[in-house]
């Protein structure tokens, strides 16, 4: 019995699928469409938290990702860093991931730092600290003891902005960029539950459905992957800086949905034929 056109559509060669995906993703990267984005409440709330912090408040940013996490968190990390640096806040970088210091270094080169912002006075980079949640607890209870030197080996007592920052009582907001739920929960337990410090996070779309369970009580805001990063960019800069990636993502999602429908039409057609 020869196959109907619908049945044939259910057996498309994998190589054709891969080629289609490649074309659909590559075209918007070469010729961006610039699809508008809707800013979600989870992103807006984190933005508002940073925006409404009183001058001199201390913000900790913890990028917990390596090279493979760049597409997920890179946009958001740069957008939040840029936002905090634009405001009269004190910024601390800490990471609990071995590759984190390189991410911080790369971000500081790519974000435009306002000329009035000075290292050691307005922002400081402490680099990597081992120990996961134990390290988070150490930073929250006594940052001077937990990290005696910054990444340039400057003793913490010689860093001007650190003279007034000792423990969680002196901190206002922690934003963590991670796919690991333990990092988010660790920051909630050690900073939010104990000292009332606001905690926000950026996570992969896969983890987003879990992380929003803590929103808006324990987490002040949640950035959802690359699209959330773009939303944050829109709020900070009034435009999306890397819109072609979002267009590629949109087209990729659309292609998957179209082929889900094709696959299921073929599946139903086969079922009817067997009846």
């Amino acid at each position: 019995m020869s196959k109907s056109i619908f049945e044939k559509l259910g057996d498309i060669d994998t190589r054709i699928l891969y080629a289609l995906m490649f074309i659909v993703v590559a075209l918007p990267l070469l010729f961006p469409i610039g699809l508008p984005i809707e800013i979600k409440k989870y992103t807006r709330d984190l933005y508002n938290a940073v925006e409404t912090l009183p001058a001199g408040s201390v913000v900790i940013l913890t990028p917990e990702f390596g090279p493979s996490g760049e597409p997920h968190y890179g946009t958001a990390f740069r957008a939040v860093t840029g936002h905090v640096l634009r405001r009269p806040l004190k910024l601390i970088f800490i990471t609990h991931t071995v590759q984190g210091p390189m991410v911080i270094d790369d971000t500081l080169k790519r974000v435009s730092i306002p000329p009035d912002k000075k290292y050691g006075v307005d922002y400081v980079n402490f680099g990597y600290i081992a120990g996961g949640e134990t390290a988070m607890a150490a930073v929250a209870t006594d940052i001077h003891k937990a990290i005696p030197r910054d990444i340039y080996e400057t003793p913490v007592e010689n860093i001007p902005m650190m003279s007034d920052i000792h423990d969680g009582n002196d901190m206002s907001l922690v934003v963590t960029f991670t796919g690991d739920g333990v990092n988010v929960e660790g920051h909630i337990r050690q900073f939010q539950a104990r000292y009332g410090v606001l905690v926000g996070c950026c996570c992969e779309s896969i983890g987003f459905s879990h992380r929003i369970s803590y929103y808006p009580t324990a987490l002040v805001g949640v950035i959802n992957d690359m699209v959330g990063g773009a939303e944050y960019q829109q709020l900070v800069y009034g435009r999306i800086l890397e819109s072609s990636a979002l267009d590629a993502q949109s087209m990729g999602h659309l292609l998957i949905i179209v082929f889900l429908l094709i696959g299921n039409v073929s599946f139903i057609s086969r079922r009817f034929r067997k009846m």
């Binding site: 994998t14 699928l17 891969y18 995906m21 490649f22 993703v25 699809l35 508008p36 809707e38 390596g66 090279p67 493979s68 996490g69 760049e70 597409p71 071995v98 590759q99 390189m102 270094d105 790369d106 080169k109 680099g127 990597y128 600290i129 081992a130 120990g131 134990t134 607890a137 150490a138 209870t141 006594d142 003891k145 937990a146 990444i151 104990r194 779309s205 987003f208 459905s209 879990h210 929003i212 369970s213 959802n224 992957d225 699209v227 979002l246 267009d247 949109s250 990729g252 999602h253 659309l254 292609l255 998957i256 949905i257 082929f259 889900l260 094709i262 696959g263 299921n264 599946f267 139903i268």
Partner: protein, 213 residues
């Protein structure tokens, strides 16, 4: 090793340290606060030491693979070589060095992003072949996947403003309630595990299984 050394002393240390840290977490008492801070700092030092231990263990494993000429043993040599190069570079150049930073951006970041991007092809092929509306549950799963894909990319709102609203409802109502239930179950389970550890009923972390030692 005697049962005292193997079981009771580690259990006693765990119980004392856990009690100090728990009390310090919930009560404001100066002597306990200082003890708590010291213990937590010990924790970070031990974690840093564990990194070296992990490296040593990795070398032990790969040297054994090379000695036994296991399948693709040359990949073990490659792993150790890369580890040594990056370790020495980090040691001599420092974490803020421009060259090391360039290695990260040019090599590591590019490879990482490429490897991650390959997933799009697999996910596309797998979803096309596997996500079929065979049962009611499978249909619900597919519908949720479609709405969330349209919510997580700007294309959804471009097609219809209603699509992201449906996706957000799925996330906020059925998903959130189920997730919060799971979180509460985990929390209660963690408390039970903590109590069992404190009273010495939980010995898995000592490498002792039930009925042993």
């Amino acid at each position: 090793m005697s049962i005292v050394m193997k079981r009771y002393i580690p259990m006693g240390i765990t119980a004392i340290f856990a009690l100090i840290l728990l009390t310090d977490y919930f009560l404001v008492l100066k002597p306990l606060d200082n003890m708590g801070k010291t213990l937590i700092n010990w924790g970070t030092l031990i974690a840093a030491y564990a990194l070296f231990l992990g490296c040593a263990q990795l070398f032990r494993l790969h040297i054994r693979r090379v000695m036994r000429r296991n399948r693709e043993w040359w990949l073990s040599i490659w792993t150790m070589l890369i580890l040594i190069i990056f370790f020495l570079a980090g040691l001599y150049l420092g974490p803020t060095n421009e060259t090391l930073s360039a290695w990260y951006t040019v090599i590591s970041q590019s490879i990482g992003i490429t490897t991650n991007a390959i997933l799009a092809f697999y996910v596309f092929s797998a979803s096309y072949r596997v996500l079929r509306i065979r049962t009611l549950e499978a249909s619900a799963l597919m519908l949720a996947a479609v709405f969330l894909m349209l919510t997580n990319a700007p294309i959804g709102a471009a097609i219809s403003p209603l699509l992201p609203k449906i996706g957000s409802w799925i996330l906020d109502v059925p998903n959130k309630s189920a997730q919060q239930g799971i979180i509460m179950c985990i929390a209660v389970g963690t408390i039970a595990l903590g109590i069992r550890t404190l009273i010495g009923r939980e010995t898995g972390y000592l490498g002792i299984t039930e009925g042993e030692g």
